[in-house]
Every structure is written in C-alpha cells, then in structure tokens.
C-alpha cells in the first residue's frame, strides 16, 4: 500500500487510542504478523490469547516500539507512532519522534526487569525524575501513591533481590504507571510466578481495570482472569486475529474451529 493512503492523523470521529493499520512484521523471511488491523478504544481492556509463537508478544513489542515494523502504520491517540510527517507524507519515525511518542506507552514484562541497583521506590522515581523532569519530591509523592496502590509501600526501600517475584512484578507495574501512560501493556506478567503469588498481581490489574480509565493490552494464559476483566478477547493464530469478541461470546460460544481447539486444549491443561 502506498504511504499516501495513510492519514497523517486520524480524524476526531474515528480516533481509537490504538490503531494497527495493515501492520506487517517479519524476521528475515519469517512473516510473524501479516496485515494486522486492530483498534483499541480509550479505556478498553483487550486480552490477546493464542498458541505459543502466534505473535502475541510481537504485537506488544511493536506497540512499545521495541520492534520496528516492516509495513503499515501504528497510531496512538490518533497520531502516528511508527511514522512521522515529512512534506505531507508519513516517513519512518526517527529516534526523537519515537522517544516522545512512546512516553505514552507503559509495559510490564514477564521477567519484571526491575533495576537491581535501585530500591523499589527509586525504580518508580527513575522515569519521572530522569525522563519527565519532575522534582524529586513530586516524583516521590507520585511513586509512593502508586506503591500504595500495588500494596508495596511497606517494602519501598528494598532492593529487587529482596523481593519475591510477585512483589517485584507489582513494583514493575507501579514503575510503568509512574510515567502516566495512556496505554499499558502486560506481557504474560504472571507466567514467571509461583502459583500462590499470581493472585496478588492479577488483583492489582483488576483494581486498575475497576478504578482507572487506562487503555490496556494484555497477553495471558489465565483464561479465567482474562474472561473476568477483559472487554474483548483476541485469539491469535499464526500471526492473524483468528477470532475476536467479548469474553462471554468468545469463551462461551467460539465460532472458529481453531478457537475451539485452543480453548479445549487450554482447559485440559488446567
């Protein structure tokens, strides 16, 4: 598709928080995502499910701009994320454009990736102070509020090595939220956790869904949790959205054969 077919900005009456428009991602000759089109409305919670290797992580990493895309455009809040305007057309974004745009996106990783040389509080303050330019006092107040939200205020002066996986993941969520993102991404944030602490992390995400108007895109293998909190479920298969819909419909009455197979396989494993 010709680049001039992509709008420089989405019109006010058709402006989802996230829009993937014909997005292609390949590694060498392996096409991981083929012509992906996906809109996420403001405040919507979308969960991506699907077999291993179907491209779920890749979708999140493209949105975080950790991966460059090979075709199409991603828009955030109506503005191009992966591209920028030059002489009236979209060209691939430079480092500065991407850095500015990605500030509105936060991501939590499977393995937390907290900064080991900083305490929980310092982890949360790092972005606000170093990137947003907040004063130490402002950043501390914001961080302490978020550590309270995730139930980690008691451990704010501990280094990550002193925290359990569930505690580290909660700090990581607070760290991402401290940047006040418009969109939050969760990539299998409970997969590396012991079963008994999964609840403490999912409860934090439940609370975010209930009390905050964040737009969220989540990958998880916990179907019950996904069903409870999502507005929409996208089932990915081989780099395409095979089927999507509200959780009750997708889990209760899947239409596609592959969706049925996947869901019954997951149920058996449980």
């Amino acid at each position: 598709m010709d680049m001039s077919a992509y709008p420089l900005e989405l019109p006010a009456d058709d402006r989802p928080m996230v829009r993937f428009m014909n997005v292609v991602k390949s590694y060498g000759r392996l096409v991981v995502l083929d012509q992906l089109n996906l809109d996420i409305a403001e405040g919507e919670m979308v969960t991506v499910i699907g077999p291993s290797g179907s491209g779920k992580t890749t979708v999140l990493r493209m949105l975080m701009t950790l991966e460059t895309i090979n075709g199409g455009v991603i828009y955030i809040d109506g503005k191009p994320l992966t591209h920028m305007e030059r002489n009236g057309v979209l060209v691939p974004a430079d480092e500065r454009h991407i850095r500015k745009m990605r500030a509105s996106i936060g991501m939590c990783f499977q393995h937390f990736n907290l900064f080991p040389h900083m305490t929980a509080l310092q982890n949360c303050m790092e972005g606000p102070v170093q990137v947003l330019g907040l004063s130490k006092a402002e950043a501390r107040a914001r961080s302490e509020e978020l550590l309270t939200l995730v139930g980690m205020i008691d451990k704010k002066d501990q280094h990550p090595s002193r925290l359990s996986g569930g505690q580290q993941q909660r700090v990581a969520i607070a760290r991402a939220l401290a940047m006040r993102p418009k969109v939050m991404l969760f990539d299998e944030v409970t997969s590396a956790l012991d079963p008994e602490v999964i609840g403490e992390v999912t409860n934090v995400i439940r609370k975010l869904v209930a009390e905050h108007n964040l737009t969220m895109l989540m990958v998880t293998h916990q179907m019950g949790f996904a069903r409870d909190i999502s507005d929409r479920i996208c089932f990915f298969y081989r780099g395409k959205i095979e089927e999507q819909g509200p959780p009750a419909a997708l889990f209760g009455n899947p239409q596609k054969e592959r969706t049925k197979q996947f869901l019954s396989a997951v149920k058996e494993a449980d």
Partner: protein
C-alpha cells in the same frame, strides 16, 4: 651484607622509589580507566567515526609492545614538537597501554547486562545516553570489577618499565643501588617483595572491598 643492614642503609632511596611507583600506578590507573571507558563505549557507538577511533586506539596500544610505546612517547614525540617530562611520559604510556585492554573489559561488561534491563530503560522512554549512564553502566561496573583487579596488578608491574626512561621509581632505585654496590640479590629481592606487597596487600584487598560495596549497592550482600 645481610638484608637487615642493607635495608637500614638504603631504605630512604627504596621508600622514595616506592612512593614514585605508587604515584605512577595511581596516575596511570586514572588514565587507563578513562581511556577504557571512552574506548569501550566508543566501540559500541552508533557513530562510525567514534567507533573507528576507538578501534584504532585499541589496535595500536594492544597490538604493540608497551616498551616501544614508552620510547615513542618519550623519545619520538619530541621530534614532532611534543616534549613530555619523563614522569608524565611514564604514566601516560602505561595508562594508554592498559586502557586498551580495559576497553575490551568495559565493552564486554556492558554487553553482558541482560537485554531486559536495556528494554526496561527503553520502556520508560530514557534516551540512550541516560540509559547507559543510569541503568547499564552501574550494572556493568559490578561485572567488570574482577577482571579490572587483575588488570590493575598488570598495570603495577608494567610501571617498572618507566625506570628505562629514568623515572626514579622503585625499579630505578634498585638498579642504581645494584650498580653502585653490586648487592643484586638484596636490591632486586627487596623490589620483588615490595611489588608483591603492593599488589597482594593493597590492590587486591581494595578491589575486593569495591566488589563488596558494589554488591551491596545491587542489594545482593
């Protein structure tokens, strides 16, 4: 002459030499660490000019002998109008030489910081420079301390070469005493022991202490 008597007679010269050796060691270490950081980071730079400069520095100083570099800096640079006092030429040569080895340690340590740390810094929108300084380098530092401990001991031993351009270090004094008294065993024996003590009882414990305090900063102690 028994060693006891030898030391009573010559200790002022030997002490003087030891102090000069320590000064050469400290100054050369500063140069080496600065060059290693600059070249190690430079080798990872996205700018090919910077990367090229780092590679050339590393190749020249690692690929040729320290003694030849020392002679170049002291005897050849004056022909191009740059005359350095022997004291400065001494620690500069040693520092530049060791820095080229240190650069590979720095580069390796930076690259060993887990990918997740780079991505976490990226995800909070840090600029590459800030991420390097605030997230990656502090962790790389902890990884590079053990190899730096060895390298600094090599550096100390390397400083003995500055006696060849008449810097009055420990080795120089030992040679002087030997030349005037022929007490070779005592003179060079003392030098041997002093170098050993400096390495084993000053540098090594200091590096261990640094490693421990770094581990504490990472919350690992």
């Amino acid at each position: 002459m028994p060693i006891w008597e030898f030391l009573q007679t010559y200790w002022p010269l030997l002490l003087n030499g030891t102090l000069i050796t320590c000064a050469q060691f400290l100054l050369a270490s500063v140069i080496a660490i600065a060059c290693a950081l600059a070249a190690g980071l430079g080798k990872l730079s996205g700018n090919w000019l910077i990367r090229g400069a780092a590679v050339i520095y590393i190749e020249i100083f690692r690929g040729t002998s320290l003694l030849v570099q020392l002679y170049w800096i002291f005897f050849v640079l004056p022909l191009f109008g740059l005359t350095l006092p022997s004291f400065i030429a001494g620690f500069l040569s040693v520092g530049l030489n060791v820095g080229s080895y240190g650069a590979e340690i720095v580069r390796g340590a930076i690259q060993s910081v887990p990918k997740g740390q780079w991505e976490a810094g990226y995800a909070i929108s840090m600029s590459p420079a800030k991420r390097m300084r605030r997230i990656i380098l502090p962790q790389a530092l902890a990884l590079m301390l053990p190899p730096w401990g060895n390298l600094l001991i090599e550096l100390l031993k390397g400083t003995a070469l500055v006696s060849l351009i008449s810097v009055a270090d420990l080795m120089f004094q030992a040679k002087q005493i030997n030349a005037s008294t022929f007490l070779s065993a005592q003179a060079f024996g003392t030098a041997l022991v002093v170098y050993y003590i400096l390495a084993r009882f000053l540098i090594t414990p200091f590096m261990r202490w640094l490693e421990r305090s770094m581990a504490r900063r990472l919350g690992r102690a």
